[in-house]
């Protein structure tokens, strides 16, 4: 008998005392919890997202669409970035105000090569206001998982309000499980020394999140 059969047999014998139950899964588990913790309008959701990101030491910036190149350029220059990783599908306009050398995200690049790049600029798939989380799923402008990991500086652009949801349940609804995803809530941190949070271990130690959307006055985009 294979180990597979042995384990499955043990499971079935272990459950011999349990009465059979064929309730379909959708009805088997009561989900009395909230889909979101309070409905928020777009302005309030973006505000909550910004507050929670900042609470976990991400640096948050807000601008209108036409101000984005200037903000990204300033963030890269502020770090003294000489090179910047650029994923496929990133809007070239975002980098128009930066003279950092573009390094394309290639399958053939070695981790050591990525380690020599100063910064990376990406978009995201969705952002979660209640938890201060941005999620990348490798879609256009997001790149391979490793490019937002190895460089020490990550600039992530979130479109407000389209890409912002309030809650974890609403974010999962938007994501495709077949795509590898990375959920990022503030820069790399550890609680391993005396259970106290310290920022900055293996991932990028600086996380800049740019919320780009309508101007504060609320005009059309």
């Amino acid at each position: 008998m294979s180990t597979r059969e042995r384990i499955l047999g043990r499971v079935r014998r272990a459950l011999a005392d349990v009465a059979p139950d064929d309730t379909p899964y959708e009805r088997a588990v009561e989900r009395a919890y909230a889909r979101e913790h309070g409905r928020l309008d777009a302005v309030a959701a973006a505000g909550l997202l910004a507050g929670n990101l900042a609470d976990y030491r991400a640096r948050v910036h807000r601008c209108a669409e036409d101000g984005l190149p200037a903000v990204v350029g300033r963030l890269l220059a502020g770090r003294g970035a000489r090179t910047v990783l650029v994923p496929d599908g990133l809007d070239p306009a975002w980098l128009a105000d930066s003279d950092a050398r573009r390094v394309p995200d290639l399958a053939a690049s070695t981790p050591a090569e990525l380690d020599r790049v100063d910064s990376v600029v990406t978009g995201c798939a969705v952002a979660i206001a209640e938890t201060g989380t941005i999620v990348l799923d490798g879609g256009p402008g997001q790149g391979r998982r490793r490019i937002t990991l190895v460089p020490d500086h990550h600039v992530c652009v979130v479109r407000v309000p389209d890409q912002v949801v309030t809650s974890v349940p609403l974010a999962l609804e938007r994501l495709d499980p077949t795509r590898p995803s990375t959920w990022i809530s503030g820069p790399s941190a550890t609680s391993d020394i005396e259970l106290d949070r310290v920022e900055g271990v293996h991932g990028p130690r600086t996380l800049d999140v740019v919320l780009v959307g309508r101007p504060p006055g609320g005009g059309p985009r």
Binding site: P180, E194, H202
Partner: protein, 491 residues
């Protein structure tokens, strides 16, 4: 379960040593008190905590009840997504499988993400015996590995070390494993984290094989989920060419949607954060992004035996958040090492004796490593009634009865006069001789669990009807109080 601490004394002996160690107690006290307050705040932020907890309990119970079906479904999904599934009945088989997979890559070193399952099976030692060096990359695991130490907490294995001790370990040992600690390293946490970053980076960049566990596996989609803070997990999961994940069979969730419950309850319960810094999800392999080969090793190692007990099976709901350790008055004083297993604290007290059986002194004594104050149950995000299981296991040790071991139904003889019972009795005496330990249990607990320590509810009733729990021995208690109270503020 191998990977246990061989020759481990029973809980009371080990605990006595720990209680006498002032530095250790100070470290534990500081860390657990800090996290307790933070956790309460993180949980209070969520208005529907009770409903999330209840849904978590039900999802896990449903999954366990249909575990055979979900295992088969998971295997299909992972395979369809380009992964390879292996089945391991016990630690030895899991270690053999992993060692073979590593050998097939031709590599002699691997990078590891912190994983309880691989600690449980003693994978590092097994690989070492095959000439493969496994580098732990989680900061706390690194501290433990460099210090030739043992983990003492589920989430923060080096919780028993303070910053000064960590600096000393780094200065002394890093050079022998790779890049030495920077000159003039101080004990500020930021500098220690930086030292770990530099030390490990060269290992990540050249690694070709990564080994992980997983917090969740989704049967419907074949997705695995790793929840972490530092980014070492992401390094191990995305940079190597081959990824091997060793995961207990109880880590399954039926659907993608189920993550909406646990991604809310786990971070708040474990590190008291709204969300942990990094969560990775992957489904099989992805072209040109991450490992080209993905192996999932499904581990039984006593889990199906645990599943066979109608009371004890709830321990398999555990999501390893460690909240129960952080609130436990006995853990706070005894420390993680006294539990003689990679699973310390309240969850360890019910999990280890079920995974390993109660034949040894340490395992027979573990169900007594508790004052039954109920604080662990109150904080558990999947509502495991740890006191109920403890009482069940105590009855088992003393009265014997039918259990399943390695898939076979056997009848345990009562442990009367047996070394195991003696160890158990000493443990009971240890716990009950410490009113401080009892009193420090969270007050909220006593509202739901009004337990007088002289009588036991539920299945233990039969036992306490015929025996009195040991009375508090006056002399040892006073000794202990004198020894431990001086210099420490009263509670």
């Amino acid at each position: 379960m191998s990977g246990t601490f061989v020759g481990m004394p029973a809980f009371p002996e080990a605990a006595r040593e720990a209680v006498a160690d002032r530095t250790l107690r100070g470290n534990l006290r500081h860390a657990t008190h800090t996290i307790r307050a933070k956790r309460e705040k993180a949980v209070a932020e969520v208005s529907d905590w009770a409903e999330l907890r209840e849904a978590g309990r039900r999802i896990k119970d449903h999954t366990l009840r249909h575990l055979d079906r979900y295992l088969v479904q998971l295997e299909e999904s992972v395979t369809a997504a380009g992964g390879t599934v292996h089945w391991a009945a016990d630690a030895a088989e899991a270690n053999r499988i992993v060692a073979r997979l590593v050998a097939e890559t031709g590599e002699s070193e691997v990078v590891k993400v912190k994983s309880m399952a691989t600690q449980e099976i003693g994978l590092n030692e097994a690989l070492e015996a095959e000439g493969v060096r496994a580098y732990e990359t989680d900061l706390a695991e690194l501290i433990v590995q460099l210090g030739k130490d043992r983990p003492s907490h589920i989430l923060v294995p080096a919780i028993h070390r303070n910053r000064g001790e960590i600096r000393d370990v780094f200065r002394r040992e890093m050079g022998a494993w790779g890049r030495p600690a920077p000159e003039g390293l101080t004990d500020t946490p930021a500098e220690l984290a930086e030292a770990a970053r530099l030390h490990l980076r060269e290992k990540f960049l050249r690694a070709r094989v990564g080994i992980s566990g997983a917090n969740f596996m989704i049967a419907e989609t074949g997705t695995l989920v790793v929840v972490e803070s530092e980014g070492n997990g992401r390094m191990c999961l995305t940079l190597p060419e081959t990824l091997i994940s060793v995961v207990g069979i109880e880590k399954i969730l039926p659907t993608w949607r189920d993550l909406e419950v646990f991604l809310q309850t786990l971070p708040r319960s474990s590190t008291a954060e709204r969300m942990n810094p990094y969560t990775s999800m992957w489904t099989g392999t992805t072209d040109e992004d991450g490992p080209r080969a993905f192996h999932l090793v499904l581990l039984d190692n006593g889990r199906t035996d645990t599943l066979a007990d109608e009371v004890g099976r709830q321990a398999l709901r555990c999501i390893r958040c460690s909240a129960c350790l952080n609130v436990c008055p006995v853990y706070e004083r005894a420390g993680g090492h006294a539990y003689g297993s990679v699973y310390p604290g309240p969850i360890g007290a019910i999990l280890s004796p079920q995974l390993r059986g109660t034949a040894s002194g340490i395992d027979a004594s573990l169900p007594y490593a508790s004052s039954l104050c109920g604080a662990c149950y109150e904080v558990c995000p999947v509502a495991i009634d740890i006191p109920e299981v403890l009482v069940r296991l105590r009855e088992r040790v003393v009265e014997g009865g039918p259990v399943v071991r390695d898939g076979n139904r056997v009848v345990l003889r009562p442990a009367k006069g047996h070394a195991a019972e003696r160890a158990a009795m000493r443990a009971a005496r240890w716990a009950f001789a410490r009113p401080g330990a009892l009193r420090a249990g969270q007050r909220l607990a006593s509202r739901t669990r009004r337990l007088h320590p002289r009588t036991l509810p539920g299945p233990g009733r039969a036992w306490s009807a015929t025996r009195d729990l040991p009375a508090v021995p006056a002399e040892p208690f006073r000794d202990w109080w004198r020894r431990t109270r001086g210099g420490e503020e009263a509670e």
